[in-house]
Symmetry: C2
DNA sequence: ACTAAACTTTAGGCGCACCTAAATTTTAGT
DNA sequence: ACTAAAATTTAGGTGCGCCTAAAGTTTAGT
């Protein structure tokens, strides 16, 4: 069995691979809040087990077996998050921490039972896709909300799930996955974004977010009509 | 935070204390499937933290703080077992292993949510009492089924929860907690016990169990009428 | 009371996953 | 091309929880 540490490293590498194609030691160490020297140690272990390919001083990449394990753990994580939210009414800003622990001990049998009870869901409470049992994950074409320009219409696809305070804030603004939004304006210098949630007809409920918040939201652009 | 190992030791000591008032190193080592030398090492650690009182060569006893932690973990274990059985249809012979892992990472918040959804239950699927949040546990007056004599009527209170095969067997015999039984006869030499489940009126469905099975069942004697 | 068996503890080690400090390699600026 | 800064790896060490082997203590039988 893979240790919790191994699973967390593989998961982190998977996540970081979406931005950098080769994950660099310091990025991994930052993400996992360990010392770079510790990350190097684990990287060597993972490379020995053929879970990552590793070039000294250059960084790591998941091998197919490493990616398989990462996706398995991510599937656990997201199914658990959704289950906690749906079945146990855990608020969406708290499901992540609970899932972070439970994901490592969930049995395949219980995974299947949860999957079934949820009706074989495809996304978690933050909009992230749930990998299938055999390790496939939906690839989507998304933009950061911070990349949109004035007048754009978009639907929120996913929000980052690991910052409790951010999630609570987004909840207060009602910026959930599946919400339709329009970019009313973007201010000069600070790039403050004025947003309207789309059923709203006038500017009464428009609000402003900054770049930090806007770059934690993934959207899919809608065609103008 | 207490490690999983510490929690498992305290739980084991609690369980063993019900039979021996001072828990001896080898009993603990047997129960936890570790080497006696390892148990000694952990015992010294627990004694240093004031979770057990320890006399060299004589054995250990839980202190009040140690018992509090043990009951907390047992509460987790039993709530989880019941939740898995009720909400996720996990068979009663499989809930134990899942709970054994989950009990150590369950948050107090999720514990409360599960407790509430189950309607503040008092016993787990095997009939064992669930300690209250503040660490009280119901004391019951029970006998082993193996201690009963011919003609006795009794109600099954609890069955031991940690042997999957035994539980599957008991399930097949329909010997669940709350089942009323009568001791029809006990054979000489082997002490084989012929049992009738009480709604049954004649001997058609009587069956025989041996001492191993009979001593894994806790009962409460019923007065004759 | 003595002794042998049974039990328990001590001594010494191991693997895991982390750390700090020092050495090495890469990188980026001039 | 050279050098200083940044990143990475190596070296050496820690705590945890386990192990085996050896030494010490209790126990039970004679
Ligand atoms: Mn994790
Ligand atoms: Mn999520
Ligand atoms: Mn356990
Ligand atoms: Mn139980």
């Amino acid at each position: 069995m893979n240790s919790q540490a191994v699973e967390d490293y593989l998961k982190a590498i998977y996540k970081l691979q979406s931005s950098q194609s080769m994950v660099v030691t310091s990025a991994l160490a930052d993400h996992l809040k360990v010392n770079p020297a510790s990350a190097t140690g684990m990287i060597k272990k993972l490379a020995d087990s053929n879970l990552v390919s590793y070039e000294r001083y250059q960084g790591v990449k998941l091998t197919p077996p490493g990616e398989k394990i990462a996706l398995e753990v991510i599937r656990h994580h997201r199914l658990i998050e959704l289950y906690l939210a749906e079945a146990l009414n855990v608020p969406w800003d708290q499901v992540h921490d609970e899932a972070e622990k439970w994901e490592h001990i969930l049995s395949e049998d219980l995974e299947d039972r949860i999957d079934k009870i949820l009706g074989y869901p495809t996304t978690d409470p933050h909009g992230a896709p749930i990998p299938s049992r055999d390790g496939n994950i939906e690839q989507r074409n998304t933009n950061l909300l911070s990349e949109l320009t004035q007048g754009d219409n978009a639907i929120i696809v996913e929000v980052s799930d690991d910052d409790t305070d951010m999630l609570r804030y987004l909840g207060k603004l009602e910026l959930y996955p599946q919400t339709n939004i329009q970019i009313i304006s973007i201010s000069p210098f600070d790039q403050l974004i004025t947003i309207r949630i789309i059923p709203n007809k006038d500017s009464n409920n428009d609000f402003v977010i900054g770049q930090k918040v806007a770059s934690s939201i993934l959207v899919s652009k809608l065609e103008e009509d």
